[in-house]
């Protein structure tokens, strides 16, 4: 009977089919040596993008750049390249790489304020690795009484607009606006100490006209080394704002790029918050740039 032979054929065919697929997938799979960049692990894809950007800076071949980037098969390629440029900036990658990435991001259609800032920023000189002296004598840092809820402003040399600092819930003291110590650092600095659960060093840079200034590179030197911040990258925090998380009991120095000396040194010390709980001193430092 033909039907029975058909059933017998299928009884052999399907197990054979399954066995064949199993052999091809599991027992003798092809070697992975024929992969394309789309299959690279994520860190290698990022490396690929960095290399493509650097290569393009030398070759200036849009066709080669397009081929290399399209090989990654990323539907959100412009955003990915832009994000990588911004990450490079925040993680203090060499500025040449960051600018190459920003340029390529714009080339592939990404648009973001950060890219404009990066591309407008001249390639900086090296940051001083560890500033060795503090610009301002800050007696209040070492002799700071335990913070109380009452601010005790010292006589100030010049009246300072208090709205330069954003209001914070646990403000425990306002320090004197400190004039810059040497003629070579003609910036005006104000510091406000805050008592908070997780201390933050907030930096706000103003231009000579009193307007917040974006795109200013400031360096912060702490227990984990020196890192570079760029003002204006935190949405909603202001054009001149940048911050860094502080580790408790650690000393942080900060300065503006291009200046040899630190503008201020602060430490996250224990303090008592208004609600009675123990906190740490965070800082908000405003710098008004000189002309």
């Amino acid at each position: 009977m033909r039907g029975r032979l058909g059933i017998a054929f299928l009884a052999g065919f399907f197990p054979g089919l399954i066995a064949g697929v199993y052999l091809a997938w599991e027992v003798f799979p092809p070697s992975p040596g024929w992969s394309s960049p789309i299959e690279l692990a994520s860190p290698y894809q990022e490396l690929w993008i960095v290399l493509a950007a650097q290569a393009d800076a030398v070759e200036r071949d849009p066709e080669a750049l397009r081929r290399r980037l399209e090989a990654l098969g990323m539907p959100d390629l412009p955003d990915r390249v832009a994000a990588l440029a911004e990450r490079g900036l925040l993680e203090n990658w060499p500025s040449g790489i960051v600018q190459d990435l920003a340029r390529v991001a714009q080339q592939v259609g990404a648009r973001s304020p950060a890219l404009v800032v990066i591309l407008a920023t001249p390639v900086p000189t090296r940051v001083p690795p560890s500033p060795t002296w503090i610009a301002t004598p800050t007696p209040s840092l070492t002799s700071m009484p335990s913070p109380t809820a009452t601010p005790t402003p010292l006589p100030s040399l010049t009246p300072t607009p208090t709205d330069a600092l954003s209001p914070t819930p646990f403000s425990v003291g306002i320090e004197t606006p400190t004039l810059t110590p040497t003629p070579s650092v003609p910036h005006r600095i104000e510091r406000q100490m805050l008592c908070e659960a997780s201390p933050l060093l907030r930096i706000r840079v103003f231009g000579p006209d009193g307007e917040e200034r974006s795109g200013v590179r400031v360096w912060v030197s702490g227990p984990r080394g020196t890192e570079m911040l760029l003002t204006g990258l935190k949405p909603g925090m202001g054009e001149g704002y940048a911050d860094v998380q502080m580790e408790t009991q650690q000393t942080y120095r900060f300065g503006i790029e291009g200046l040899e000396s630190a503008l201020a040194e602060v430490i996250a010390r224990p303090c008592r918050r208004p609600d009675g709980q123990t906190g740490w001193t965070g800082w908000e430092i405003s710098v008004r740039l000189a002309d």
């Binding site: 017998a8 054979g16 399954i18 066995a19 091809a24 992975p32 024929w34 960049p37 692990a41």
Partner: protein, 120 residues
Amino acid sequence: MHRPAVVIGVVGLGLLLGLGMGVFLGYSIWPVRYINVEPKDLHPDWQAEYVRMVALAYARDRDLALAQARLALLGDPIEVLQRLIARSPAPFSPQARSAAVDLLHALRASSASRSSGGSP
């Protein structure tokens, strides 16, 4: 009624055809796709592209240690670069050729310096 030998033969024939079809499907139609691979798993053409980019990046930043580390993802840096220069599947741009030769010289000089006990 069929003889058992005929039935067994038909089952065997089905098995062989199914096996062939399964292998064909598994290799050609739905092949295994690797994800999260490393640069050394790339197709040779893409490996060559990677090496070209590393050489051009070196021409950009002059960071020999970095270029070496990047090439080491494919194997011995000097061998990898020599292989590219000797048998590149795609034509070099003038900048890429110059960068690759330049990097090869730098790697050789560095290697010679290390083997002679000089500073790296």
